[in-house]
Amino acid sequence: MPVTLRLPSVLAPSAGGRTVHAAKGATVGEVVADVATRYPDLGARLRDARGEPYPYVVFYLDDEDIRFRNGFATPVADGAEIVVVPAIAGG
């Protein structure tokens, strides 16, 4: 069963206009890489040049912040859900 990657609408234009993506991978980083292969522009919004997360884009794996697990190396189970939460500042 694939993993679900949920993007905010601000990133949808870089991902074929869609916010919900089915993807494969054994870790969060592999799931991100899988989607980034299909949408290179999105990859640059999710990972820096070293392939690490930006400090202003947070990844939640089943509602837990992956920075308090093992970052992009955090393993994902089948059916898991990854939610991407970038900083926004509107008021």
């Binding site: 905010p8 609408s9 601000v10 234009p13 930006y54 400090p55 202003y56 947070v58 939640y60 509602d63 837990e64 912040d65 920075r67 308090f68 939610v83 939460v85 970038p86 900083a87 926004i88 500042a89 509107g90 008021g91």
Partner: protein, 388 residues
């Protein structure tokens, strides 16, 4: 947990207040003591815009004793689609004055303190120090980091909300137990990466959803009712009407609330890269709308390029321009002719300055940024072009 004074020091309620707040008083969890806590409370709202509008209305109606409002702006017609604190008659007035009038009408028991200033490192500790808690409804990253650091240094809870298009976030930062904004986002995005509501738009009712969450949390913190939204980040997606809560943790290495290496307020414009970008864009060649108009009338061969997005092009455009959106500008570079004069414009001149820089970096020399963008063109040259 409730903030503020011990029960023996709370102000009494007069008979007219007992009648006004009766629906609170008959909730056992709020009761007379909870209402007296609200009357004693001093809450600072940073921003009286989209989020601040429902915050002000509901906190005033709830009977918060003193409501401080930091807001330097005046009411603009484009505010009225969501900023329900202000009305059509208020366009052009100071927002703090409009807010004061509306709150006085809603609840004359509330004392409104107007801070008609930009919140900055020079005044934030003094202003925030006068209040029990802060409700952050600002519209930029620099002020959000400023509010956060000031709240951490002063030990004041920060009821946070932010919005963009159809999505919003809310939580309560800076309580004794909870994380702070820097635990969530250690650094801001580079300037220009995340559009503001003015640049990218916002669904008008969205600040209504998030602002009422913030007002709810402020009332809960004051009265001690329920479980505050601490250590949890509420994510709202109005397009799918989904509400999700993810876990927020305190970062022991956070320079604000973890290691406490931030002992004083810093330069937040610099921290957010704004000064660097201002300096970078300062040397961009510029053309005034009058100069562009004169050159076009004289028959000059100009490539006038609109770098806004297609949905903005549909709203308004300058006649004779062509569209090359900044979001896909790299693909459009091959359409430029280095021998022709190129003038780029956007809504107000910020995005087009970045596009000029990209063309310069690609080797183009005869490139200018239209100062003030299509808004200035509408104001000074062609009023038939609608403002938005």
């Amino acid at each position: 947990m409730s903030i503020g004074r011990p029960p023996g020091e709370l102000p009494p309620l007069a008979n007219d207040e007992i009648l006004r707040y009766s629906r609170h008083l008959i909730i056992p969890e709020v009761g007379v003591e909870g209402q007296r806590r609200l009357k004693a409370a001093r809450i600072l709202m940073v921003g009286a815009g989209g989020l601040g509008s429902p915050v002000a209305l509901y906190l005033a109606a709830a009977g918060v004793g003193r409501l401080g409002i930091v807001e330097p702006d005046v009411v603009d017609e484009t505010n009225l689609q969501r900023q329900v604190l202000h009305g059509t008659k208020d366009v052009g007035r100071k927002k703090v004055e409009s807010a004061r009038d509306r709150i006085r009408d809603l609840n004359p028991h509330v004392e409104v303190v107007a801070h008609e200033a930009w919140l900055g490192s020079g005044n934030a500790l003094d202003i925030i120090g006068q209040y029990d808690l802060v409700v952050d409804g600002t519209d930029n990253f620099a002020t959000r980091y400023l509010v956060n650091d000031a709240c951490v240094l002063l030990g004041k809870p920060n009821v946070y909300g932010s919005i963009y298009r159809f999505e919003g976030q809310a939580t309560v930062f800076c309580t004794d137990a909870g994380p702070c904004y820097r635990c969530l986002y250690p650094e801001p995005p580079p300037p220009g990466l995340v559009p503001s509501c003015a640049e990218g738009g916002v669904l008008g009712v969205l600040p209504g959803l998030l602002g009422t969450v913030q007002a709810t949390e402020a009332v809960k913190l004051v009265t001690g009712v329920g479980e505050p939204l601490v250590g949890r980040l509420l994510l709202v997606d109005a397009a799918r009407m989904e509400f999700r809560t993810v876990r927020l943790r305190r970062n022991p290495r956070c320079p604000a609330c973890g290691t406490h290496e931030i002992r004083a307020l810093i330069d937040y414009q610099q921290f957010c890269g704004i000064r660097g970008e201002e300096a970078d864009l300062a040397g961009i060649p510029a053309m005034t709308v009058a100069e562009l108009d004169a050159r076009r009338r004289a028959g000059a061969d100009l490539d006038l390029v609109d770098v806004r997005e297609p949905h903005e092009w549909d709203i308004a455009r300058i006649e004779g321009a062509r569209l090359a959106p900044l979001s896909r500008f790299a693909e459009a570079l091959r359409t430029f002719d280095g021998a022709r004069d190129v003038v780029l414009y956007c809504k107000s001149g910020v995005r087009s300055a970045r596009a000029v820089r990209q063309l310069q970096d690609a080797g183009f020399r005869r490139v200018w940024n239209l100062q003030g963008g299509i808004l200035r063109w509408s104001e000074e040259i062609d009023p038939a072009v609608p403002r938005y």
